[in-house]
């Protein structure tokens, strides 16, 4: 079986949010919660300030804390490695949300269920790319089989120094970053779900 993963090149992410908009549209994600978003952070001071854009999503970890936490076995791993939530078995105890160090799981207020990124398994099963990968205008997102040496993701991972978000969590993520400016540690205390209190109403 394939070992699906994603590589995000922070050299070329421009923070346009095309990925997060595409994800919202693909899954009709309600306002205020996110399967995928882009975190902003800054380093340095004027006139030498730098802004970093860091796309974040569920990492579909090899050692997924959400999968181990779920008491109803609603969270399972598909044959290609995607960690998904079975809506029929979820009773919204929110242990997965409390266990995930990435804040990748949210409570869908409409469906009253826990939801998260699925690596668009309904698209990848048909041979297509995830919505966020297709939407990215700079091609900074690469998706594919990590174990296939001929795949673009495997080749780019081998050609670049890659890192993961929050390595101290010990979850062995399948989402990798090319992070030449060492920006990932700047969002080590953030999560996929962002605070929307400052947003305008409606």
């Amino acid at each position: 079986m394939a070992r699906l993963g994603m590589l995000i090149d922070l050299n070329t992410c421009i923070g346009c949010h095309a990925c997060s908009v595409a994800c919202k549209a693909e899954f009709d994600v309600p306002l205020g919660v996110f399967r995928d978003t882009v975190l902003y952070t800054e380093t340095g001071e004027y006139p030498n300030a730098t802004r970093h854009f860091i796309p974040v999503l569920c990492n579909h970890c090899e050692d997924a804390p959400c999968l181990d936490a779920c008491p109803t076995d609603a969270i399972t791993r598909l044959p290609d490695g995607e960690v998904v939530i079975d809506e029929g078995d979820c009773n919204l105890n929110r242990f997965c949300m409390a266990a995930c160090p990435y804040g990748a799981i949210y409570e869908d207020p409409d469906k009253q269920l826990a939801q998260k990124c699925t690596f668009c398994e309904h698209r990848t099963a048909d041979g297509r790319q995830p919505a966020c990968v297709d939407a990215c205008p700079t091609g900074c997102r690469v998706f594919g089989d990590l174990d296939d040496p001929d795949s673009e993701i495997a080749q780019r991972a081998a050609a670049n120094e890659i890192s993961v978000w929050k390595p101290e969590a010990g979850t062995d993520p399948r989402v990798f970053y090319v992070d030449p400016h060492d920006a990932l540690p700047l969002v080590a205390t953030n999560g996929v779900q962002v605070d929307t209190e400052a947003d305008l109403p409606g």
Partner: protein, 291 residues
């Protein structure tokens, strides 16, 4: 949901709020009360049957109330049974805990029926019932820490002393309620040996609890990853609240009450009340501090 200030967390708001806080605090009482009742039974086999029956009813009521809090917190309460019927993920502490609660509730109901007035229960069955009640109570006293240690919500739950503190607070909660029942239901002045036995077990548990808290504090202040927790425990008026309630009200007051106060009823009731307050705050602190 509880709002979190500072954004120093994976989620803007903690996924577990007051209902789960109440559950983690309350679930200790039926465990401790059952363990205390089991101990009292073995120590004074001819002791007050009324106290034992009331203890069992209170344990069952509190267990069902705690379960009610857990079910009420679910986003889909009608699917709560999945935590009892699914055995595919016994690696989840909540899955194990839900089954423990069901087993404990069954055992308490069995105890009430088999030990009802006029019933003659065989020695082996009675012993087996006592032991299984005791073991499930110990498991229920500790399992909440296993749940919390898997989360980012409760950094204190991952420390070395958390399980011991949860066990000790459960025992102390049980002792406190048992003392109250002894005072109100015994029907006659307490025998000197009984008073001394209850007082001594309470003092021993309080001293062990105090030692556990001291070493837990040393763990917290020596661990750089727990700086947020240490700051909350030492910074400002809130810190005095935590320390005052846990150590002052929960430890010092009952120790003084049991060793100095001459009037036994006042000493026992006052100490029991203080112990309940201190242990509830200690359990809540492990759940809440750090997020």
């Amino acid at each position: 949901m509880v709002e979190v200030v500072g954004g120093n967390l994976p989620l803007p708001a903690a996924p577990w709020g007051p209902l789960l806080a109440g559950y983690f605090v309350l679930v200790g009482l039926p465990s401790g009360l059952t363990m205390m009742t089991c101990w009292y039974r073995t120590r004074w086999p001819s002791g007050t049957v009324t106290v034992e029956r009331h203890s069992t009813w209170i344990s069952l009521f509190c267990l069902l109330l705690a379960s009610g809090l857990l079910v009420a917190d679910l986003g889909r309460p009608t699917r709560f049974f999945l935590m009892l019927t699914r055995f595919d993920n016994l690696g989840s502490p909540i899955a194990v805990g839900a089954k423990l609660i069901a087993v404990k509730a069954f055992l308490l109901i069995a105890a009430l029926y088999l030990r009802r007035r006029g019933a003659h229960l065989g020695g082996r069955i009675d012993t087996a019932l006592t032991w299984t009640l005791g073991i499930t109570s110990v498991a229920l006293a500790i399992y909440p820490v296993a749940v919390l240690s898997r989360t980012w919500l409760a950094p204190l739950a991952s420390t070395s002393g958390a399980a011991l503190i949860y066990l000790l607070t459960a025992l102390l909660m049980g002792v406190a309620v048992h003392l109250m029942l002894q005072v109100y239901l015994a029907g006659q002045p307490m025998a000197e040996s009984t008073y001394r036995g209850l007082r001594d077990i309470t003092l021993v548990l309080l001293m062990v609890h105090g030692v556990a808290l001291v070493f837990e504090a040393l763990t917290v202040y020596g661990e750089p990853t727990l700086d947020t927790v240490a700051a909350e425990l030492t910074g400002g008026p809130v810190a005095y609240g935590w320390l005052g309630l846990i150590a002052g009200v929960g430890l010092l007051l009952p120790v003084l009450g049991l060793t100095i106060v001459r009037f036994r009823r006042v000493a026992l009731l006052g100490s029991a009340g203080s112990i309940l307050i201190g242990t509830c705050v200690a359990r809540y602190a492990i759940f809440a501090i750090g997020h």
